[in-house]
């Protein structure tokens, strides 16, 4: 095998792996990313069935616990509120009036069916996306920001 051929094989296989990686990344980006929405976004778009993340505050007084760990609560950003249903154990930091992110899809009935609920463990106990959308809606409480 000549030097030239060896070099060609090396370059060719590198390109091959690169192309493979690019194809994988692009196809995965198309199919497996999840968009973040605030309750106002959801009301505005009202897309049924698409998997999204819904973030906001748990509206005080709306948490209802049913049989077999069924939970219903409303997520609000101050302007709109979306009812959420979830079956399972809620995270430690889930509390009324606190920030929460629910992942799932909106059903025809207008209820957001969540299959996971996150109350993120960051230093401020407030998911960043939630803080941003609250700021946008003008309902940001300044005391959250004191820390940093």
């Amino acid at each position: 095998m000549t030097r030239r051929q060896r070099r060609l094989i090396l370059i060719g296989s590198s390109l091959g792996v690169l192309v493979l990686a690019t194809v994988l990344v692009l196809s995965a980006l198309k199919d497996s990313i999840v968009f973040f929405n605030s309750p106002s976004d959801v009301v505005e778009k009202h897309v049924v069935g698409t998997r999204i993340r819904l973030g906001g505050l748990v509206k005080p007084g709306t948490v209802q616990r049913g049989q077999q760990l069924m939970v219903r609560f409303e997520v609000t950003d101050g302007n709109s509120a979306i009812p959420v249903s979830y079956q399972g154990v809620l995270p430690d930091l889930f509390r009324e009036g606190q920030g929460v992110i629910a992942e799932g899809a909106l059903e025809q009935s207008g209820v957001f069916k969540a299959d996971s609920v996150l109350a993120k463990h960051d230093e401020k106990y407030m998911p960043r996306e939630v803080a941003d959308s609250l700021k946008k809606q003008g309902h940001w409480k300044d005391d959250y920001e004191k820390k940093k």
Binding site: S32, I33, L69, D92
Partner: protein, 659 residues
């Protein structure tokens, strides 16, 4: 007073570092031994000063001196002593101080044990090391000073984030930082080589032990972090593809690639330019990892902006070192003498294959981690890139790598015999196929990919054994001869085989725990029983008790297996008054390598409590595999120390980091 001493020591360290950044390099350029000689003492002095600063901060924490802002923010007088120590680095400022402490330690080690390095190389390496140090001292002093006092000393501290009050988190950051900072050594060597315009196999020999040490620390650090997330976060996952985790995985992938390409460079004097690039990239990813996690850029573009000085400083450091390193590379690399080419089917070829796939996997993680950031900055659209993305990209890129692992060590240098290697691996492949068939037969359907995953793991493990057996000549010579030969094998051969074996062990754990794990999420009343996989857990009742700085609600369960009592599990929920937050402490029960995992949810007014019960088959193998990999690394490292009669043994032994 103590805080001021620490602050002062840090300022002095910056001064010393600035001298060390300039003098030795000038000396190297002018071949002035006096100027070059400055580097050694200054590196040692830097370490002494930073150690003093770190000790001062630790003293402030241990004595709960709340007049220091950093201590007030992150400590509490009632906290157990061990967490007072660990909260030193449980916050941004303190962790940056730990970072420079490790950096100074590595610099001092190069100075102390690098006696056999060529004088100019040593001077340049220490100077580059000191550039990094200076930038970090400046960063700490200007934007993240842990020694700032409060005008009025508060009576009580705000407590450490409860989730960080855990022994796993005590060990995790120092290990990760050892790994990150360890990469700075290979970076400094790479930059020094580019400055000198000279690089040879000896360079790789000097760099490899450091890279290996960094790799071991990273491996352990990542495993530790993963185990912590598993038992502390309460939902039994061991890897979430969270940006913070990815930030540590990327340097690991790059260092793993570097480790393998440095072998080619050392043994065959090839892949030089590529190895230099990998050294730069590995440290760049470590820097990105440190900052993304610490500054909160990843979880928040806006935290970044909320402290503009810090954000701008971080960006400047990243641009300076990553951009500067790559620019120097682009400028000087073409002038480096190219190494030889080699046949595609050879040990070198296999190592290139490893490098290609590792770097491709690394870039897919990079894109998945940073794409949401970029998209948000450009369009304002918020997305989350989660596990599905990484399963679709990282998975397919890692599988060929795992398939190739057993082939690599069996191929000869220069020109390998793929057919011969395949023949020798027939046993391993046969074993894997039998295992796949058995798993299929036992399961009657079920997940299709999982049995293949197990087969792949078995192939990697059996391949590692085959490698050693082949080297010892098992089956070809008498057993006693083979045993003697095995004893005579270099430790690095054992190191390679054991590390590859560990990879298989981890894979086996990952596949089994994520495919055949079982869970029950139910609400139980006292004396009710939850059953899962022939385990019966009876809820005995709740106990309320007071911990040192929290209240704890503890649930006691009696565990029976086939009717026989095998123990009890006591998961709890702790609430920390000072931060108005709570943590879930899961209860774990190991059965062989499998685990029962029980964590608490909310308690209801009627006396029942929600629980999650998981059965995680072979889950412990995930972390055990990482430990096995590190044992392989240790063996390989010790080989280099003990090998006598090899060219420049003194230089090699001198380069061992003292652990």
């Amino acid at each position: 007073m103590i805080a001021e001493i620490g602050h002062y020591a840090l300022v002095l360290a910056l001064g010393v570092a600035l001298i060390q950044s300039v003098a030795p390099m000038l000396g190297a350029a002018r071949s002035d031994p006096v100027l070059m000689g400055v580097a050694g003492p200054t590196a040692l002095a830097q370490f002494a000063l930073v150690a003093m600063a770190f000790a001062a901060l630790t003293a402030c924490y241990v004595s709960s001196d709340f007049s220091v802002a950093n201590v007030f923010e992150n400590s509490h007088s009632a906290m157990p002593l061990v967490y007072k120590f660990t909260s030193v680095w449980g916050n941004h400022e303190g962790s940056m101080l730990l970072w420079v402490l490790i950096l100074a330690l590595f610099g001092a080690l190069v100075a102390a044990f690098g006696g056999n390095l060529p004088a100019t190389l040593k001077a340049n390496v220490l100077a580059v090391q000191s550039w990094i140090a200076s930038a970090f001292y400046l960063f700490i002093l200007a934007t993240s000073n842990p020694f700032l006092r409060l005008p009025e000393a508060p009576f009580e501290g705000r407590d450490l984030n409860p989730i960080l009050q855990d022994i796993g988190l005590a060990v995790h950051p120092p290990l990760l930082y050892l790994g990150y900072v360890g990469c700075s050594i290979s970076f400094s060597f790479a930059i020094a080589a580019l400055i000198e315009g000279r690089i040879d196999a000896a360079w790789a020999r000097w760099v490899r032990p450091w890279t290996l040490a960094a790799w071991m620390a990273l491996t352990l650090g990542i495993a530790m972090g993963s185990y912590w997330a598993y038992y502390e976060l309460g939902w039994g996952g061991f890897w979430f593809w969270d940006p913070v985790e990815n930030a540590s995985l990327m340097p690991w992938l790059a260092v793993t690639a570097l480790l393998h390409s440095a072998v080619v460079m050392e043994k065959r004097n090839a892949l030089k330019v590529w190895t230099i690039l990998l050294a730069i990239l590995a440290f760049s990813l470590s820097l990105i990892g440190t900052f993304l996690v610490r500054s909160g850029v990843l979880t928040s573009v806006h935290t970044f902006a909320s402290d503009p000085t810090r954000g701008v400083f971080i960006l400047a450091i990243l641009i300076l070192f990553i951009g500067g390193g790559l620019a120097l590379y682009a400028w000087r690399a073409p002038s480096l003498k190219q190494g030889g080419l080699f046949a595609p089917i050879s040990r070198e070829g296999a190592l290139v294959f490893n490098n290609l796939f590792l770097t491709a996997a690394c870039s897919s993680v990079f894109i998945g981690t940073l794409y949401p950031l970029a998209l948000e900055a450009l369009t304002g659209e918020k997305i989350s890139v989660g596990a599905p993305f990484f399963n679709l990209t990282f998975g397919p890129l890692f599988i060929p790598l795992l398939l190739a692992v057993p082939f690599g060590p069996l191929l000869g240098w220069k020109r390998g015999d793929l057919y011969g290697a395949a023949q020798r691996l027939i046993g391993a492949a046969g074993g894997a196929i039998v295992v796949i068939a058995v798993v299929f037969a036992v399961l009657h359907g079920g997940p299709v990919l999982a049995p293949f995953g197990i087969g792949l793991a078995v192939f990697a493990m059996a391949g590692a054994v085959t490698d050693l057996a082949e080297r010892a000549g098992v089956g070809r010579v008498a057993p006693s001869v083979a045993l003697a030969r095995a004893r005579g094998l270099p430790r690095s051969a054992f190191g390679t085989a054991i590390a590859h074996f560990g990879l298989g062990v981890s894979l086996l754990g990952i596949v089994c725990a994520s495919t055949w794990g079982d869970e029950r999420i139910v609400s139980v009343k006292p004396q009710e029983t939850v059953s899962l996989r022939s385990y019966d857990l009876t809820f005995e009742g709740l106990i309320d008790r007071q911990g040192p700085n929290y209240r704890e609600l503890l649930a006691r369960f009696t565990v029976r297996h086939g009717g026989e009592v095998i123990g009890s599990m006591e998961p709890s929920k702790r609430s920390f008054a000072s931060r108005q937050s709570s943590t879930t402490e899961a209860a774990l029960m190991s059965r062989g390598f499998s685990q029962l995992y029980l964590s608490l949810g909310d308690s209801n007014p009627d006396g029942s409590i929600a629980v999650r019960l998981y059965h995680k088959p072979l889950v412990l193998l995930i972390w055990l595999g990482a430990v096995v990999m590190v044992v392989g690394g240790l063996l390989s490292l010790s080989d280099r120390r003990l090998r006598v009669g090899a060219p420049r043994p003194a230089a090699k032994s001198a380069m061992q980091p003292a652990e």
